[in-house]
Structures are given as C-alpha cells and as structure tokens.
C-alpha cells in the first residue's frame, strides 16, 4: 500500500500522487510475514502528544526507516516498541507477541542500539560482550562476534581506550549478541564522520543480508535512501507518508527543486506564476520552487527583473529527493 498516510490529518498542500486503490495490485500480506505491527500507537507527555496514533507494519527481512527531524517522535516510537516506555494507547505486536505485556520474551529476541553508546568504560571489549551475552537465552559465540566486528585484536583493551569507530562497532556487536530476529537502530550514524557512516551502512547491509529485519531511525535522508526498502516520514508525532524512497520521490508532482534567495522581498504569487512551478515554500529566507520543467522555471526566474529586489543572490537546482518529500509535506526542512 504505497502512500498510506496513516494519520487522520491528510498530507496537506503538495499532496503526493496517490494511485487509486487496488491499482498496484499488491497482495494482502499474510500475517506470518509481518514481524512488527503497530496500531494507533499514542504517547503523551503532559499536554504534548509525542506520538499521535500512528500505525504501520514491517515485514520480515525488511529494512525499514523512520525519517523525520528531531522531536518528530521517532525515538519515543522505538522506545515503546523496545519496552522502555509504556504506550498511552494502541497496540504493538512484535514477533507475534504483545510487546507491552510480553516485554521480556520480546526483548530476548530483539537487538537494540540506542542513540548513546552506553558502554562501561572500565570493562574490556571481551568483558563487555560476555556481560551482554549473559542477559539472553540465545547467544552468539564470543569469537564470532569479535571476528565479525574486527575486534579480535582489541579483545583485552578497555573500552575507554578504544577509538570512536571501534566503540561504535562494539556497540553494534552488543546489539547482536543474541542473534536477534529484529534489530532496532536509533539514529546510529549521528555524529559519525562520512567514512564511518558508510562503513556503518555496510554493517546494516550485512545484517539485512542475513535475513534480519532492521528498523532504523534517522534524520539523514541520504541514509534512508541508501538503506531502507521502505521509509515512514514522521513529523510531530504523525506519519506523513510511507513507501519506498523511490516511490515517495516519484509521488511528488515535480521532478526538481530550485532553491533560491533574493536581494529583497518577492511575493509568493509572482513565484507561483512562473512557468512549470507547482508550489513554492519559503523557509529561513530561502524560496523552494518545485518544478517539473527546470529550464522553463529558470528562464522565468531570470526574467523577474523589473524592480531590483528580485535579483537572485543564490541559486541551487537539484533533483527531487526525500528531503523534498519532507518539505512538500511539512513546509520545513529535515534539519534546521
């Protein structure tokens, strides 16, 4: 079901093209194939609704992404699934078990990496893995873990003496000590340099290759595009759209985005009237022109020269990405 906007509030303004029901001919999923089913999940903190009645399903073996800015409710959603927080309403079925009531049975079969690398600095690599292994029924052998995460030579080093990348690998290794069926990664590459991020993506590809279901949150749209078979775009506690990254982008009624700033004030109506422009958003002084004909739009833009305030100061043209899907859905960028 592509583009099931799972919330009562419809995706406003530039609504992605929604194919008529039944057109895709996608078969109804057999239940056995669904590893995680979320129904009307809600979490409130006082008057703030952090997660607002969201629903989605994740299939076995899938790499599923939750993309959204900070504060969208991604982490709270994961924490409820992982058993760290109790939902105020809704149902979570994970590995065919009620994840709230059968919390520990579920936790025995999942692997989790939290946002912060929670490791004891005074333990060695080997002691850390042994300690985490002790907590589960099913255990991967120590040697396998050390080898797989290239930590064999560091096995007797204290965690506090490891490099950032080694700590990151150890942290993922602790999430895999029980050979989990489902792995949750909460913003795993935040704060990593680009090279470390890429090698981390390889690790996720490997997990996926072993048939594990991977659920990852991120606010990097490149990451969602590179890793995920399906992405849920989340904002202010709701899921705005959900599909494969390619379909999400294809669902936009424009192909390119022209981002520009002007020397003075330019009325939105004048930009909207430019050739081939489907919509215009303004954020932090920059205008985003969503177009399905770049050259026509650019020509029109250059022609806006009667006053002087229309002088273009900066200009950037790019193919539509998940970022644009987010902007078109929310009017804001993923990262401020």
């Amino acid at each position: 079901m592509p583009f099931a906007a799972e919330t009562p509030r419809p995706a406003t303004q530039v609504a992605p093209r929604t194919p008529p029901a039944g057109e895709t001919g996608e078969p109804v999923l057999p239940r056995a194939d669904v590893v995680l089913a979320i129904e009307a999940l809600t979490k409130r903190y006082g008057s703030l609704v952090a997660v607002d009645g969201i629903s989605f399903e994740v299939r076995r073996g899938e790499t599923f992404g939750i993309l959204g800015p900070n504060g969208a409710g991604k982490t709270t959603t994961l924490e409820m699934i992982e058993g760290l927080r109790k939902p105020d309403a809704g149902r979570i079925t994970l590995l065919s078990l009620d994840a709230v009531r059968r919390r520990r049975a579920v936790q025995d079969r999942i692997g989790v990496q939290l946002q912060s690398q929670a490791l004891w600095p005074e333990l060695t690599v080997e002691e850390t893995l042994k300690t985490f292994r002790a907590l589960f029924k099913k255990r991967v052998s120590l040697e396998t873990l050390l080898e797989r995460f290239t930590l064999t030579e560091k096995r007797r080093s204290l965690v506090r003496d490891l490099s950032g990348g080694q700590k990151q690998r150890l942290s993922v290794a602790t999430a895999l000590v029980n050979d989990p069926e489902v792995v949750f990664l909460d913003e795993p590459t935040t704060g990593l340099d680009p090279q470390a991020r890429r090698s981390f993506w390889d690790l996720i590809h490997d997990m996926s290759g072993e048939g594990k279901t991977v659920i990852v949150t991120t606010h990097y749209m490149e990451e969602a595009e590179a890793l995920c078979e399906r992405v849920a775009i989340m904002d202010r506690g709701r899921i705005m759209a959900m599909d494969s990254p390619r379909e999400l982008v294809r669902g936009l009624d424009f192909d390119n985005t022209v981002e520009c700033t002007f020397a003075g004030a330019v009325e939105r109506e004048r930009l909207l009237a430019l050739p081939a422009v489907r919509d215009v958003k303004k954020e932090n002084g920059a205008h985003f022109l969503f177009t399905n004909d770049v050259s026509a739009t650019l020509a029109g833009l250059m022609g806006l020269t009667d006053g002087g305030g229309e002088r273009v100061q900066s200009l950037q043209v790019r193919t539509a990405t998940l970022e644009d899907v987010f902007i078109s859905l929310t009017g804001r960028r993923l990262r401020d």
């Binding site: 992982e82 058993g83 760290l84 520990r104 049975a105 936790q107 025995d108 999942i110 989790v112 939290l114 946002q115 912060s116 929670a118 490791l119 004891w120 005074e122 333990l123 002691e127 042994k130 300690t131 985490f132 292994r133 002790a134 907590l135 589960f136 029924k137 204290l158 602790t174």
Partner: protein, 359 residues
C-alpha cells in the same frame, strides 16, 4: 537469566569496582590514615587515667595517704568499696585501684606497711603511667609524712581486664566506616549509569531490575569483604588489634552492614537524578553517621539524640563489629544489631525495587 548469567553479572560488577581504583582506595585510605594518626601520632591512651581509692583502715594514717593521692592534678580520683571498684577495673573503666587495707596504721607504726595496687594489665602504655604515678605518691608520702624511705611498699597486682585500647576501639569503627562509604557509593554509580544511558541500554534487554540490583549487591559484597580484610589485617599486623570473636560472626556482621548501606545508597540513587545532587546527599548522610554512629569516638549520647543514634545503621554496624572484634561476643550479644541492620537492608531493597527506573 540462569545462574551462570547472574554470576557473570556479579563478576562484571566486581571487576568494575576493582578497576575503579580511585574509589575503593580512597574509601580505604580514610580508615588507614585514621588508624595511623590515632595509633601512632596522637594516642589518646596516654591521657590521664581514673584512679579509685578504697580506705578500709579508716585511720589518721590512711586518711593522709588518701589525700596525697587526691592531690595529683592529672588523675581523676574517687573513693569506693573494694568489690565495686575492682569490678569497675575489670570492666575497663579505671586505670588502677589503690586499697588501704585494715591494719595499715598499725603496720606502719611497726615499721613497714604494704599497699596493694591493682592495675589494668591490658594497656602497656598506661601501665607505665599508672605505676610511676603511684610510686611517686608513695615515695613522697614515705619521705614527708613518715620520714622513712621504705615505710610503705607498693604491692602491684596486675589484673587482666577487657579494657580496650583506643586503637582497639577505633579499628572496628574504621571497618564500619569503610563499609558505609563504599556501599553508599552504589547510589552514585546508579545515577551515573542512568546519566550515561547504561541503564536504558540494560532496560532493552530481558534483565529484570531485581536481578540487576542483587548482582550489584553481590559484586559490592565481594569488594567490601576484601576491604574489611585489609583494614583488619593492618590492625592486626601494625597495631596488634586482635579479633577475639568468631570470624563467621564477623563475616555475617560485615555482610549485613554491606546490605544495609548498599540498599540505602540504592534508594538514594533511585530518588535523585543528577550526579552532583547524589554526591551532596550521600555526604550529608554519611558524615553525621560517622560521628553519631561512633566510628571514631565513644561519645556519650545526649538523651535528645538517643532515638536518632539508635536508629542509624552505622551505630549498629559499629556496635556489632566491636562486640565481635573486641569482646568476642556471640549470638546473644549480636542479634539485636543484626536485626536492625537486616531491617534497614530489607527496607532499602523494597524501596529500591519500587523506585527503580531504567531512565
């Protein structure tokens, strides 16, 4: 989680504590330094002693001798009966008892009288002080009153008493203090684990709070018992502090103390959010306990404070440790202190379980 898993957690906890050298060395250093200072440099045992005088002769001569003793500035004297004062000496409340026996004046008239002096044999420093003081008084009495150098001879009688030297009193107190410091420290560890997200990380595993708390308790017990052993060994080798009671009772007492302090620390750590506030609160709890619980000095308790002093766990830990180490006490002497420590441990554990949160 099976037994092996649980034991792995205990081992992990003990390893972490042992590697946290700053923490366990500093807690033991306070005890070691205190013992060194009071054992060598500033020894309260050389302070004036109490002297009891028993006049059984009721003569002019015995009266004069009594007054000579009462005239010493540095010694507290009192008068009493033979049986009462000797019992006092046995209990370690006196330095010596001087008895002027019936017939003293007559003996003196016939040229030589003996003066029995009973003194406490347990403290070598004080023995010297007592005997020289008594000899000096008797010599000057012979000189000035009788005018004959060997008219009165002192007959020294050493009495083995249960008298406790200050270092004997201090050592169990230092054991109690060390147990308190280390185990209250679990509150600090709990809050810093929570701050570092380690508790959250454990919260997404099947680990139960009760299993976590108990494994930490066992890890702390192992480290605490090692420290008890270090402090007592130092007391034995350096200051000749002997352990009069059973090692088993000593271990039980120490473990109950560990449990009481640990779960109090755990409850405090469960109540507080930041590392700085938990530090402040732990100090606020620990320092008054050290003094009210009589780790250092055998202070008399003002009646107003008595209920508080009798309620705090360190009082009972110190009492029970002294009972075993100094007095060689048995179950009959220990059960009340054990009961109160166990009550603190049970209460702290229940509160910790109730308040526990992963984040």
């Amino acid at each position: 989680m099976g037994v092996r898993g649980f034991l792995q957690l205990v081992v992990t906890q003990a390893i972490m504590l042992r590697r946290n050298t700053g923490f366990w060395i500093s807690s033991i250093m306070m005890a070691v330094l205190s013992m060194a200072v009071f054992g060598w440099l500033f020894n309260p045992d050389t302070q004036p002693f109490d002297l009891a005088l028993v006049d059984e002769d009721h003569s002019q001569a015995s009266r004069t001798l009594m007054e000579a003793f009462q005239g010493i500035d540095s010694v507290e004297t009192r008068e009493g009966s033979r049986d009462g004062e000797l019992a006092s000496l046995q209990d370690g409340d006196l330095g010596a008892v001087v008895i002027v026996p019936v017939g003293f004046a007559d003996d003196l008239g016939s040229g030589s009288a003996t003066l029995p002096v009973y003194y406490d044999n347990s403290n070598p420093v004080r023995i010297g002080y007592v005997t020289t003081t008594v000899d000096a008084v008797v010599d000057s009495y012979n000189d000035q009153v009788v005018g004959q150098t060997s008219a009165v001879t002192v007959q020294q009688q050493a009495i083995s008493t249960k008298n406790v030297r200050f270092i004997d009193f201090l050592t169990p107190g230092m054991v109690g203090m060390t147990i308190m410091w280390v185990n209250l420290g679990v509150g600090f560890m709990l809050v810093s684990w929570r701050e570092q997200g380690i508790l959250r990380r454990l919260g997404v595993t099947p680990l139960r709070p009760g299993a976590l708390i108990l494994s930490q308790a066992m890890g702390y017990s192992l480290v605490s018992l090692m420290q008890v052993l270090i402090v007592l060994t130092m007391g034995r080798l350096v200051f000749d502090v002997s352990i009069n009671g059973s090692y088993l009772w000593l271990a039980v007492t120490a473990l109950l103390g560990v449990a009481a302090m640990l779960f109090i620390g755990y409850a405090i750590g469960s109540l507080l959010r930041s590392v700085t506030s938990v530090n402040a609160v732990l100090n606020l709890v620990a320092f008054p306990m050290i003094f009210l619980g009589r780790s250092y000095f055998p202070l008399e308790t003002p009646p107003a404070l008595a209920p508080l002093v009798n309620a705090i766990p360190l009082t009972h830990l110190n009492d029970a440790l002294r009972e075993v180490v100094n007095q060689g006490g048995g179950l009959g002497d220990l059960w009340l202190s054990w009961l109160i420590l166990a009550a603190w441990a049970a209460g702290g554990f229940a509160l910790s379980m109730r308040l526990f949160r992963w984040q």
